[in-house]
């Protein structure tokens, strides 16, 4: 809780500057610093946290500028009243853009950067050619500036300071909030985040709206500050490039990184301009950018950017176990009531029929083995049930509710969790945070402290407690597999889909894993167990279903099914001779 105190303290101290009677030059310089702090920090809320690098921030600043210029310059609105409008219109534009773009899964990374840049030029062209601007630009000289401070420069200073403080506070709050956790997960692996219950579309939209609104306010103030708004200066590539540069230099994973970068770059540019070396100043900025990317890829504050989870209060595993016990009583015998019912499920990829009318049911409390040769559709089935892929045909009824059309995060909220055959941990989150995330976003949507307790429990359960603060890259394959398991368990699922958790493990590691999975079932979870390690399938499962070419070819008790000729044929081929 130190950071909010710091922000408030620094803010109060800075608010006293206009009363010191300094030359207006200082206030104007600090105004510029605050302006860029707002732009860089607001950009970072979407782009730094979630990894969706926008090159369209100039568009939202521009929308703010033109909103204020139009309302104050042409319709005689009082200046301050135009700022909420500037924020609202910028945010609405952002939401409209995000509504379209965030639905297209391929528009990530550099393609998102490009499309936002293109949108900047489209909006700029429209502004230029319509009465909004019309070509000559808009003058704001005659708009009265409210006398908040004794001097105009003081007024601009205090407005920019207030906006900068608000922006940094919002960035801080989001960084600590559930929204921030979700955005960081999106940054590392959006598909996995969605499957773990993060409503990725809504989160991206929310972050974009906040980011755009703050840029819009900054633009509105800037319009008044420069008092002459033109299209060419506004909708250019310069704003986004500066903003990216500042944030990357300061560190995009830290809420204060962009502010540090903005202050450094602005001071540098201003210093060179003041000394008549503007050209050298620009070159220096270019050089700094190159050096920063090459030698400090995480930014100046990158080392401090890792979110340290609060240490959970020490608690005995037994007590934590009470917290974590799922709804069903431990050790419940397999019942005949279906927990999950799949009917006529079909899914094709470019003509390959991965699932072809699959019917199966999973009974509450059982371990259902799902086996079949490579390419038989096992992983696709898991992907469809968990909501990652949408089926073309068929129904998936989970606890009496059809979830075939649900988005993946809603499937997770309903109580289905999965692991990945090739572990897909969030690379920049610690092991602890990786496990706490599904607890926070899963069925019970635990609060931060409870999620940390839950995560600690499952880390102990899977034997990863000693690695809680490590990054996933420091784990070996065995530990990563168990991290997958711990993440799936931490969401307290009613149904657990295990996709080849044993592949690549040594025989003794497999023995340990089998014991662990049995213990999970004894806690009341229902498990679908996709596996090639036949020994484990035979030891663990109550029933098995055999898939081949996307169809169910056999179903029944493990020993009996594996002896059937059609199953043997599917695995080993037809006997010749």
């Amino acid at each position: 809780m130190r950071a909010p105190v710091w922000i408030a303290g620094v803010g109060l101290a800075l608010a006293a500057v206009p009363f010191l009677g300094l030359p207006a030059f200082y206030e104007s310089f600090l105004y510029l610093v605050f302006y860029w702090v707002v732009l860089a920090t607001s950009w970072n809320i979407l782009s730094g946290y979630s990894g969706y690098f926008s090159f369209g921030h100039g568009a939202f600043v521009g929308i703010g500028m033109y909103t204020t210029a139009t309302l104050a310059g042409k319709f005689d609105w009082p200046f301050l009243w135009t700022l909420p409008a500037a924020a609202a219109i910028a945010a609405l534009t952002g939401v409209a853009l995000g509504w379209v773009v965030f639905r297209v899964p391929k528009l990530r990374g550099e393609l998102f950067a490009l499309i936002t840049l293109a949108v900047t030029f489209v909006i700029g062209t429209i502004v230029l050619n319509t009465p909004i601007d019309g070509g000559p630009g808009i003058y704001l000289n005659s708009v009265p500036l409210p006398a908040i401070m004794p001097t105009p420069s003081g007024t601009f200073y205090i407005l920019a300071l207030a906006t900068a403080l608000a922006t940094v506070s919002i960035a801080y709050a989001i960084h600590r909030a559930k929204l921030g956790t979700g955005l960081f997960a999106i940054h590392d692996d959006e598909d996995v985040a969605e499957v773990m219950g993060v409503p990725t579309f809504r989160y991206k939209l929310a972050a974009f709206a906040i980011s755009c609104a703050l840029a819009g306010i900054a633009g509105g103030i800037q319009a008044m500050f420069v008092s002459y708004v033109t299209m060419g200066d506004t909708f250019s590539i310069v704003v986004p490039l500066n903003v990216v540069l500042m944030s990357v230099l300061g560190g995009t994973r830290h809420w204060f990184g962009p502010a540090v970068g903005a202050a450094a770059i602005t001071a540098l540019l201003y210093g060179f301009t003041a000394g008549d070396f503007a050209v050298a100043g620009r070159a220096a900025v270019g050089l700094i950018l190159i050096v920063a990317i090459l030698f400090l890829p995480d930014g100046l504050l990158g080392r401090f950017g890792r979110r340290r989870p609060k240490p959970a209060p020490a608690q005995s595993p037994v007590a934590a176990g009470l917290v974590a016990t799922p709804a069903a009583p431990p050790g419940a015998a397999p019942s005949t009531r279906p927990l999950l019912e799949v009917r006529g499920l079909s899914k094709a990829f470019k003509g390959v029929q991965a699932l072809d009318g699959v019917d199966l049911e999973v009974r509450a409390g059982e371990i259902l083995g799902l086996v079949g040769p490579n390419g038989s559709g096992k992983s696709t089935l898991i992907n469809v049930v968990s909501g990652h892929y949408r089926a073309e045909l068929g129904r998936i009824v989970f606890q009496g509710r059809d979830i075939a059309e649900e988005q993946a995060h809603r499937v997770a909220h309903a109580g289905i969790a999965r692991t990945y055959q090739i572990p897909r941990p969030f690379a920049h989150l610690s092991v602890m945070q990786n496990v706490a995330l599904p607890a926070r976003f899963g069925r019970d949507a635990l609060d931060s402290a409870a999620a940390a307790r839950e995560a600690r429990f499952w880390l102990e359960f899977t034997g990863l407690a000693a690695k809680a603060d490590a990054l996933p890259e420091d784990l070996n394959l065995h530990e990563r597999k168990f991290l997958e398991l711990a993440r799936a368990l931490a969401s307290r699922p009613s149904l657990l889909l295990l996709d080849e958790v044993l592949s690549g493990l040594t025989p003794s590691e497999i023995d340990g894993a089998i014991r662990t999975i049995r213990a999970i079932r004894d806690r009341g979870a229902t498990i679908v167990f996709v596996e090639h390690v036949m020994r484990a399938v035979m030891e663990l499962t109550d029933r098995i279903v055999v898939l081949n070419y996307g169809r169910v070819i056999a179903e029944g008790g493990p020993a009996e099914v594996m002896r059937r000729p059609e199953v043997v044929t599917a695995y080993l081929g037809k006997p010749h001779a």
Binding site: L114, I115, A118, V279, A283, I293, L294
Partner: protein, 284 residues
């Protein structure tokens, strides 16, 4: 809205083709390094302008503008190789390559501004005076040269990638570098060669710029958006795509300008880009 005369329409169609050729020429190197090296080389534009200024300087000193390429191209090739060496040494991600080359862009822009000032510069050469006449239409020689060079380089690159062993090795390395290396392809040397070639292409584009356009350091950024659009629409790593897309964009811009107002032109290219990004089914 008045429909312009047939002559005017023909002339603007022609100018659209010519500027489209330049889009394609600028896009060629960009597309190759993006598609095959996974580097988004923003510095390509700055390099082209640096080449244009060098051509301007050497030609003003008495050299034939086309002969200046003999000096410019080897230097640029070496620059491209060096740039790739840095990228490979630091294992730069595609997005960080964009940021680093933005830094390079800013530095080159500063150098240009320092040497040649921010004023507009115009190369006066005998090429600029030569115009052909086809019916009622005028065809200036520099623009025609640009078009021919753009076509020649695009087709030449395409053929080299498709038919020569070196080209096949390059495509294999672009597809899967470790596997290509396992089959004996010297992937690192090839990547440097390709990066050098892209930079040299920027030099060629620069000479064409100098022959037909007025130069100013700030103009570097004016081309970024529309050439990116041509590259994306044309398909990354495809040598002919940027030229075709550039011509389509150039012509549609020119017609937009002739029919409505010149200021509406950017709407065409960027709307095209947005539509392509949204509608194209596969990942680029």
């Amino acid at each position: 809205m008045n429909l312009p005369s047939l002559t005017l329409l023909g002339q603007s169609l022609l100018s659209g083709i010519f500027i489209g050729a330049l889009y394609g020429l600028l896009g060629l190197g960009l597309s190759l390094s993006w598609g095959m090296l996974r580097q988004i080389n923003l510095a390509h534009f700055a390099l082209a302008f640096l080449g244009a200024y060098l051509t301007y300087q050497l030609a003003s000193a008495g050299m034939d503008p086309l002969a200046t390429l003999l000096v410019v191209l080897p230097c640029f090739f070496a620059f491209g190789v060096a740039l790739h060496w840095v990228f490979a040494r630091f294992a730069i991600s595609p997005f960080n390559s964009l940021l680093v080359t933005f830094g390079v862009t800013v530095i080159i822009e500063s150098v240009i501004q320092w040497i040649w000032t921010a004023d507009y510069r115009r190369l006066e050469s005998h090429y600029g005076d030569i115009k052909f006449r086809i019916g009622t239409l005028f065809v200036p020689l520099p623009e025609l040269l640009t078009l021919l060079v753009a076509i020649a380089l695009a087709l030449g690159t395409w053929a080299a990638l498709r038919y020569t062993d070196l080209g096949k090795a390059l495509r294999a390395a672009a597809e899967d570098a470790p596997i290509a290396a396992a089959f004996g392809v010297n992937e690192r040397a090839l990547a440097m060669l390709l990066s050098g070639l892209s930079a040299a292409f920027a030099g060629v584009a620069g000479a064409c710029l100098a022959l037909s356009y007025t130069l100013a350091p700030s103009q570097i950024y004016a081309w970024v958006g529309v050439v990116f659009a041509a590259v994306m629409i044309g398909g990354l790593g495809n040598p002919i795509g940027p030229l075709v897309a550039g011509l389509v964009i150039g012509v549609s811009e020119a017609l937009t300008m002739a029919i409505t107002a010149p200021a509406w032109a950017p709407l065409v290219s960027f709307s095209l880009l947005i539509i392509v990004l949204l509608a194209r089914p596969r990942k680029f």
